[in-house]
Symmetry: D2
Amino acid sequence: MIRFNNDYNHGAHPRILEALAQTNTESYGGYGLDEWCRKASDEIKKYLDCPQAAIHYLLGGTQVNYTAIAASLRPYQSVLCADSGHINVHETGAVENAGHKIETLLGVDGKITAAQIKEAANSYRTSDIPEHITQPKMVYLSFPTEYGTLYSKAELETIHTVCREYQLYLFIDGARMGYGLGSEENDVTLRDLAALSDLFYIGGTKCGAMFGEALVITNLELQPHFRSYIKQNGAMLAKGWLLGLQFYTLFQDGLYFDIAKKAVDYAMQIRNAFQTKGIPAYIESPTNQQFVILTQEQIDQLSPKYVFEFEGKYDDFHSIVRFCTAWSTTQSEIDALTADIETLTI
Amino acid sequence: MIRFNNDYNHGAHPRILEALAQTNTESYGGYGLDEWCRKASDEIKKYLDCPQAAIHYLLGGTQVNYTAIAASLRPYQSVLCADSGHINVHETGAVENAGHKIETLLGVDGKITAAQIKEAANSYRTSDIPEHITQPKMVYLSFPTEYGTLYSKAELETIHTVCREYQLYLFIDGARMGYGLGSEENDVTLRDLAALSDLFYIGGTKCGAMFGEALVITNLELQPHFRSYIKQNGAMLAKGWLLGLQFYTLFQDGLYFDIAKKAVDYAMQIRNAFQTKGIPAYIESPTNQQFVILTQEQIDQLSPKYVFEFEGKYDDFHSIVRFCTAWSTTQSEIDALTADIETLTI
Amino acid sequence: MIRFNNDYNHGAHPRILEALAQTNTESYGGYGLDEWCRKASDEIKKYLDCPQAAIHYLLGGTQVNYTAIAASLRPYQSVLCADSGHINVHETGAVENAGHKIETLLGVDGKITAAQIKEAANSYRTSDIPEHITQPKMVYLSFPTEYGTLYSKAELETIHTVCREYQLYLFIDGARMGYGLGSEENDVTLRDLAALSDLFYIGGTKCGAMFGEALVITNLELQPHFRSYIKQNGAMLAKGWLLGLQFYTLFQDGLYFDIAKKAVDYAMQIRNAFQTKGIPAYIESPTNQQFVILTQEQIDQLSPKYVFEFEGKYDDFHSIVRFCTAWSTTQSEIDALTADIETLTI
Amino acid sequence: MIRFNNDYNHGAHPRILEALAQTNTESYGGYGLDEWCRKASDEIKKYLDCPQAAIHYLLGGTQVNYTAIAASLRPYQSVLCADSGHINVHETGAVENAGHKIETLLGVDGKITAAQIKEAANSYRTSDIPEHITQPKMVYLSFPTEYGTLYSKAELETIHTVCREYQLYLFIDGARMGYGLGSEENDVTLRDLAALSDLFYIGGTKCGAMFGEALVITNLELQPHFRSYIKQNGAMLAKGWLLGLQFYTLFQDGLYFDIAKKAVDYAMQIRNAFQTKGIPAYIESPTNQQFVILTQEQIDQLSPKYVFEFEGKYDDFHSIVRFCTAWSTTQSEIDALTADIETLTI
């Protein structure tokens, strides 16, 4: 079986494993206060143009999301988010468990707009009874979104401007950051994200690391005592250097960008194969996740050989399914799939 | 100025004040373990046909709502609610502050349906990855709703059936209970509510009491240690007999029902006056809240003499406003208003 | 039976009832934004010499305590408190339910010292791994304490100095404030409390009001959005003027001080009676709570006629019991009790 | 520098790294629902004699602790714990952040007794006002404790009996489990722990794994929906097989026990060296942590070559320091240290 079901079904890039093996007989200080975390942050900062950034290494996306939100908001404050946002639909109410309301905005292809954010923020600002409602204080975006779509630099700039106007923090979930940066359609850099957001993270788990996410906090207001939040939320790895070492390996010579770009190229081959075959996309995604609309017969034809994810019924005769590529995908896997797509019954 | 802006702008029914005065030189045990609370519960139970019910007296609606939800749900469980539900839009995220996600269903005139509830519950039950989403475990309804509308007995029975099928608790917010029971259109009794819900409350603050809500817990599962939740959430009045005494006064000879019914009759006079004048209702409400669509000119004509609540813009030329009657409304106030409605510019 | 078991077993001072009756046909705006709350705050401020103070009216002690703490602390911050502090032992973990750790200091007669506070704060400041422990950020005191004892002005000044040095908020629980201020031994004024603490409250429930506590926030840092916390924690009374009216009545001509002082005088008569009889105090209290050590025989002699509170076993032959006076206590009740104390078996 | 400062300063046992390398080109399903987690649980269960046990793999100690407590307790319930317990002093209030009070009992050498637990539980049971205090519902122990000491089987049985009598859950933190089981003084087996506790965990991070803890839930009451708690608390590793694979490697042929036992043997050599030299232990520990009382001169003599942990001042002339061995410690490191101990100035 070839897995296209997600982008976290393989261990780690071989160079990560090598790095772990090479340092295994060394000893280090704990809790992320080690030389590898420092070196990793130095490497990442080369891409940021933001010397004041604080970088922390956590273990997974849900953990980063609710820890960052818990650290940023007061109890009466809420976070604005697309209805399809990961924190709203895939994290078992972790943000609410941390005490905060998520105010959802209706997304289009997983994206929300500056105008929607402005309206929500303005609605609070102009309320007669603000104490009866939560105060929107943060905007949560994903780059790429749950549907693989991307915000353009212009869109992020407009959102950034609204956030400044209404004193909202902008938090960008980058669990699949590499696949966004590696897209042909993308015009956003890490430097842009550092300049336009207050905090964002660079996903490792889905982009070549064994595990781990690098949270970049650019807003000085949100930096103090962040390690207390990490510890309190069970997110402080005793052997923190394991995270630093992985991000150092991914960033010291651009490996992160290369392997993610390759995965996106593979995804485009899948997209083309479906298009050529006349099988419609559910959403046009320029990144590593491809959502297509298949008949049950087509699903049955692909299922014996490939694992892919059922996303929901499209209509009585069609389903939406997702094919994911990853840093671990190979050209031969893609060749097999595209050949089989060509033979599907229409 | 005559206030129609809400139903909590006067102190208390004169008989409540009398009762407070008559007992003021007596001394009582604290925290709701007194004779008046017992007597009040005995009186209320005469309307319930539910000997197992536990009745607790709390101080206000938001407090009852989040305390009841915190006591009923485990951290991974959520509550289903109309998008317009009070807990979702007017309580500063109190439910989320208690750790629970509110899953909203799109209401029609403030009401949700058994089919919507079933779909949400079924979506969890049939999920491949239930641990990534919250488990709907409670349904929150208001009777009457935020828009003054009512659930029929048949509707509540269908909702009850779905709740049993999916093991959901049914919680009914009765902050304006009296005005629902007192409506001509209503076919639901307290007995029905006790039979069809797991817990519900009978609002005092808006229905003749100085303050206080009577929470009726019929489900034995939810009764143990409820007083611990009351205390923990700052909802245990030291002089608990003040609450018992008020509810005893309201229920021992049906005062609660009489004064609320009269208020609804007054509301119907307002409704008729607007209808006669050809001024449209925003929502057809059979209870004490009337929502109408006025021009700015009409608002300006009524504003010097009456206080009423602005609810939002209807279109560029009209606004939605609310007129509320209450136990304290008088016929002369109604006569004045209806006469002035007659003279409005159309 | 004559109740000396606590100071909240009677309704309200007659003048409070009168005020409620006189305003009962008036209508007011809701949620504490009314003229009576404004007038009450004006009266209270005459005693404070702190024009910047924000005053809010809440319903009871536990509610004020956890709401104030939730509003003041970030998730990683804790509150320092005597082991016998009300928030630590009588509030069902309300502070922890709000997410905060209470770090206890061993009290002497219910009091803690500036030196203890300094040590705890310094222990955090000098910690190698501050992110593994909570940051003490608030000191919680009661005036009077749970044992009826008082902090002197000099003690409060020293504590205040340490709090400033370590940037700790000083929060003073004044549920029994009147009985502290009314003690012969007391040298502290409301003006001092306003100057020396960041927030404190003036108890109404136990000191003549029907219910209610006036929270005074002097620190500008803690004032913004406090009403959001009140609402979120179910502590915002719809008919807020009921609270304002009571505090206006208590403060506009010093009634609050008079009735509390009288109660303390009565307590001193009880203290003297026990002393004269040779019955030892458990703690020397100069306020309205008197803790004495009785034999079972003595308890049996007083029990048929008086209600008083069992506090715990002193040894195999003695118990600690509490006698409380209140604004509602009468000289004839005191005469009866002191006469009966005289006849106790030694 | 040779690190004796803690037991988590090296990566992983070489066989763990090999296993990770060998499976790195394989693909697996996510979130712990994979074959390696199943196989690991099968291996662990061979030591338990408890077929009903549910085993979950989480990432670190703090995370396991607060997740398990959040999943077990209702909001009004508290956990009993030694004052020195890890959850009380080293986890930044994570348990309180999850809403629960920790009721501390004064430990002796880090241990608490069945009698203390019984007294606390009984105090709640016999309280007149249980709703004003939290209900102790769980006992938290560490095996070994923070001071390296062990509970005997007889002690655990007595505690178990009290827990059954008072319906308390017994939760055992086994972050250093291997070093407890590997002690000469130990008479407890994993089978005993499974029989006597409701849930406990087997530490991997400190005992040979790269990271990870295996939580064993034997009480059927606590098993349902536990995965929801794991996800909600950010503790669900996307690539869950990485945890299963490590525990499989540690347990399939007893590696876990062997490497921990060796570490304890090394610790005993350190203990003997200090004893021989006449340097007193602060606490007599039969496991991998050794606490000794050194002069500043002795500290200065050892510091250039060894890293060890300062625990606190003993008196004006002495400090308490900790030497930790681990699975990664070597005989040559021990030889060096013991030789240098011999040369210390007395």
